[in-house]
């Protein structure tokens, strides 16, 4: 099984390596624009819980970036499936569904980690110093695990690449803006906060922000992300089996 996971993972990494010189500038643009617009233009002089807005914003961008980049593995899978037909090569190989999902999820998580390192460098260049300790990396790991697993499952369910883009618009875009990335969920009305607390990204933002700002760790957020991630992973394995027509 390990060799199957490695095969799937290394394939994605070889492709990523070929694109890395284009990918790094692409990963930099959105965070750079958010940092410039939201922190200097909109958030200048704003403090949240004793922190400047840019200190509040960077952990949110990291949570959002790890979500979008780990979820982006769905696009790679769909291109391989619908455009290049490479998914058939995996289906015809004597590897388990678990190995396929694990390889793709690990690839999605690696993409997320690389994209986040770009945001961390940008934050440093903007003069922000945060704590990047074990609690931070664990939250990042769990958040990218959740969304990479969700991505693999959804990539198996959709019938075309266009459907995938639509799902991203309905699931990822609202979560990116409402999951505690740009503003504290606690400042919303109670009913709205209760709804947003159901989103995994809200818990990821909270856990990553607490870790970055040196606040106490909220264990509940970590446990919840782990459980949601495991459920999404199991569903993804089931979806791969169902992808056989």
């Amino acid at each position: 099984m390990i060799q199957g996971i490695i095969a799937i993972y290394v394939r994605e990494m070889l492709i990523l390596r070929r694109r890395l010189t284009r990918q790094i500038p692409s990963w930099s643009i959105s965070p750079f624009l958010y940092l410039t617009a939201f922190s200097y233009a909109v958030g200048h002089g704003v403090t949240i819980d004793g922190h400047t807005y840019i200190e509040f914003l960077i952990p949110g961008l990291i949570a959002m970036g790890s979500m979008t980049q780990s979820f982006a593995i769905a696009s790679e899978i769909n291109i391989a499936r619908f455009y290049w037909h490479i998914f058939e090569e995996f289906q015809a190989a004597p590897i388990s569904k678990f190995a396929y999902v694990a390889g793709e999820v690990l690839a999605g998580m690696t993409r997320a980690m690389l994209a986040i390192s770009v945001i961390m460098v940008l934050g440093f260049l903007f003069g922000v110093r945060l704590h990047y300790g074990p609690a931070f990396f664990l939250a990042l790991f769990l958040n990218s695990f959740v969304f990479a697993s969700l991505a693999v499952g959804l990539a198996m369910v959709v019938k075309s690449h266009a459907d995938q883009a639509m799902l991203s618009n309905f699931i990822i875009t609202p979560m990116a803006f409402l999951g505690g990335t740009f503003f504290p969920v606690e400042r919303l009305p109670e009913w709205a906060g209760a709804i947003l607390n159901l989103l995994p990204l809200t818990h990821a933002s909270r856990a990553i922000r607490s870790a970055c700002l040196g606040d106490p760790v909220n264990v509940f957020s970590y446990v919840l992300l782990l459980i949601v991630g495991l459920i999404f992973f199991a569903v993804a394995v089931w979806c791969v089996e169902k992808a056989k027509d």
Binding site: Q3, G4, I6, A7, V10, R11, L14, I15, R18, R19, W84, H85, I86, E88, E89, F90, Q91, A92, A93, P94, I95, S96, K244, D245
Partner: protein, 281 residues
Amino acid sequence: MKYMIQVKKLVKKYGDVTALDGVDIQVKPGEIFAYLGPNGAGKTTTIRILTGLTRATSGDCLINNFDIATQTSAAKKQYGLVPQAINLDQELTAQENLLIHGWLHRMSSSDISAKTDELLDYVELSAKKKSQVKTLSGGMKRRLMIARALLHSPGVLFLDEPTVGLDAGIRRKVWTLIKKIRQRGTTIFLTTHYIEEAEFLADRVAFIDRGTMVALDTPLNLMATMGAWAIDHLKGDTMETLYFKTREQANTFNTMHSEEFTLRRVNLEDAFLDMTGKKVK
């Protein structure tokens, strides 16, 4: 007798549409078996079921005596698959494509390395080992797919329309390669809608039409059912073909009629047309 491929009463339904209706096939070791039929006849569906990509509605498929439905992993180790569509990683090199395939088939890195060199040489692509696939021609990609399918030394090779879209020269090159692969002892299951491909390559040919097998025999026996010589002539707006046992009989017919005729040898398409009432396209 031992068979490398056994298909028993295979049925595949998509809703109300029956794509395969009780197909039976036995392929002997080392045989080149051609599966010939028009587009939509059920050729690719059969290969997809045999290789575990699609579930059968009912029936059994065994590859080297391993049931693809219940002994899936063991069955998948027995075959190599060259699908109809080019399914190589375009951004990776030829070598990297083979490396990933080797790992997917649980080969050791040293075995992969040795077999890669051997097979790229075999398909005359050694010079392209480090080239990205997107820089290769259509014929080279097809040969690379064949090399990839052979990397884990399978006993059975499935070729789904292996020369579709290739020009005549490259097609001949692929045919020669297929003959060479058979000489290694590999059993080959080939789908095609090119009559001459089946005629040139196959030991036995099965005709499939609308999900049903209509004939199965050697190319010579199938053609012999029609005679040896054929005359095509225009009758009104339609082309009519007449069949004769000997060339003399055909010539006699020619001399008795004033229209323009084309005399030729009977081919597999004549047999197919006679059995199904349609052209192989």
